[in-house]
Point group: C2
Chain length 398, copies 2
């Protein structure tokens, strides 16, 4: 009796989640310490202490009627203003609270902006590999997902193919940098070239093409990598942010959209996004979370912990013979499967209690994703398992 769309969704239900549940079962069976679960982007680094303190202080100090009550669908005014000013300070932008809409995480924000923009049949372009949920979000509004094929050497966007695939129906392009699943950060040069390509096509077609920058990993970068703030390079940029990873709060569902005044039709987009937040059933981002994170805009989770994980896992895998681009951000490694059928590779890995996600889930078969937001000890303990796994493919040469 469920809808046709959901019938298909349930059937193909996210490989990531299925893996997560299988991991739980295996942990029960073999003991959690004997299962090496690299399948889910659930941070194992605790939220900074000041974040928990901010939650408690908010509860103790705020008038409960105001704290827990409805506010503007876009969020508390002072929270939005604090975020605008924080962005202005960090990135020399010029936002005010009117440009900020508080959302139920980045997933909520993406749905709000797609609801705002898409007519049925409108096209949304993504660069493979991409976070698989984009497909569902676009489908929620009967949009059509258009994939750009990956450069599997650099995982930088293929702008030539982008230009070829933009049509009169292209409403938006989604980018995600630092990237899930590759960890790649788009350089300023790349961003400039992307902006030039989009501007050229806008002019040629006489349309507005919105660049949606999905940025849950903005704060998680290594080796001093810089992540350019995209609104400064392309006027029709909308940013979706989340505190899930930067403050290790994924279950608390708090993020925001940035809708600059430079957008084509900015007033209508800002109004419509507020209405969309309401009618999609979010109504508003949770109030307590809004007020708490506003007190912690300069905080972030322990990136050095992830960096240590990154080094250990990357070095281990390279030494064993695997090939993989070195991530500059996020907490994922995107490893080339030693055999063409990466699902068979994942199945083999599972024999050693290593849980990996097939690249097909990200529109990029032939690769697998490892989330290294686990404990350092998990990686240490997993090394013998990876060693045995490697022996299946690279003989005894490692």
């Amino acid at each position: 009796m469920i809808s046709d769309k959901m019938t298909a969704m349930v059937k193909n239900s996210s490989a990531i989640r299925a893996m997560f549940e299988e991991g739980t079962k295996m942990a029960d069976q073999y003991g959690a310490e004997n299962v090496y679960d690299f399948s889910l982007g659930n941070p194992n680094v605790a939220t900074p202490e000041e974040v928990n303190r901010a939650f408690v202080e908010t509860l103790q100090q705020e008038d409960p009627v105001r704290l827990h009550g409805y506010m503007n669908n876009a969020g508390f005014e002072e929270v939005r203003e604090a975020i605008a000013q924080s962005l202005n300070k960090r990135f020399a932008t010029d936002f005010s609270q009117r440009n900020i809409l508080m959302t139920v995480g980045a997933a909520g924000g993406l749905n709000v902006i797609l609801k705002t923009l898409l007519n049925p049949g409108d096209e949304v372009i993504v660069f493979s590999p991409y976070f698989g949920e984009y497909r569902s979000y676009v489908d929620n509004f009967d949009g059509k997902l258009v994939e750009i094929s990956p450069n599997t050497e650099t995982f930088q966007p293929n702008l030539k193919e982008l230009k070829e695939k933009i049509t009169i129906r292209t409403k938006a392009v989604i980018v995600n940098t630092p990237n899930n699943p590759t960890g790649v950060v788009y350089s300023e040069e790349t961003i400039r070239a992307l902006a030039a390509a989009l501007n050229e096509k806008q002019e040629e077609l006489g349309t507005a093409i919105y660049l949606i920058s999905d940025e849950p990993y903005r704060e998680l970068v290594y080796d001093g990598a810089e992540v350019p703030y995209l609104t400064k390079y392309y006027d029709n940029t909308i940013v979706g942010y989340s505190f899930s990873k930067s403050l290790s709060l994924p279950g608390e569902r708090i993020g925001y959209l940035v809708m600059p005044d430079s957008l084509t039709d900015a007033d209508n987009i800002i109004s419509a996004a507020g209405v969309a937040n309401r009618i999609l059933g979010f109504v508003n981002a949770p109030g307590l979370q809004q007020l708490a994170v506003a007190k912690c805009l300069d905080s972030k989770s322990d990136v050095e912990y992830y960096n240590r994980n990154r080094k250990l896992l990357y070095d281990t895998l390279k030494q064993l013979g695997f090939s993989c681009i070195k991530p500059e951000g996020a907490f994922y490694l995107f490893v080339k499967s030693p055999i063409e059928d990466e699902k068979a590779f994942c199945a083999k890995a599972k024999e050693y209690r290593l849980l990996l996600v097939p690249g097909s889930s990200f529109g990029c078969p032939g690769f697998v994703r490892l989330a290294y937001c686990v404990t350092y000890e998990t990686i240490q303990r997993s090394i013998p398992a990876f060693t045995k796994l490697a022996e299946n493919y690279f003989g005894g040469n490692s």
Copy 2:
């Protein structure tokens, strides 16, 4: 550049919200104490102290990685089990955690279940007057809202018309008792008759018709009114609950769906609802809120405060010559407009700084809604304004 649906939505943007914003403006201009804002269901009774305490204790006692992390999309297992057991104790039902899905308020829950059930063109029946957002929620999934005309004397459901309007495309019927905007509670007799009507049509058409019971006001009843638990009367009942009103937490976005095993296709509905929660962008209900409310399942906000408000406002309006059904639950009065055009009546009321919502927003023109979840003092101070308003219609006889 926004979508056609959103263009229409923004244009007709909720009269309630517009009124709310106008109220804020008037409060700035005349002073908050001189504006009598009965427009929004934003509780003015603080959450019980133990609820705030439960939030703080959860933050102080839980492992932050678990507390703030991702969990099953349906919610924390122990929270869902606690809710199932609480329902079983109160209503002699037989639920387990598998029947409970934690949601971003009732609005989130309704969107999840409509996404789960509706194919484009499927019909969802509502009884006028009804919460206006139902129209938007059904439209999110390209469903068709079908209205049953009101009995403006009793505001009990017209079951004869219900049976006439059920077709092969009828996927769901939404009820809301205690009702927004009338405050009416459906009696056990009514529920039995409703169940019989639905069973008869299911058998006749060979379809499953789901009864969605939207119950944010379940705990807010007066004079010992009983609110029957609908899953006990009709197998295909799905309950949407929210803590927004019962614990005065509307901005915190926490509620749940109950999907009994007795549902036709229960397994698929339960699986699909979990996936829908994820792909609609909720992902999961906020984790902290889940753990906090689970500790307060026997608490409720001060219903006696609303009862005092109800009595004062109802008695005042009746004495002034207005006519209105006496509400048994929720915190709304649905007052007959003394003139046919209730929007003109609302405009007149605004001249006395009385903010009311036109019944047209609830599919029931000729009436206006007053939300009495304000302070008692607001009602006291508003009496002279209502008196002057009444003089426009009932002469000097009051």
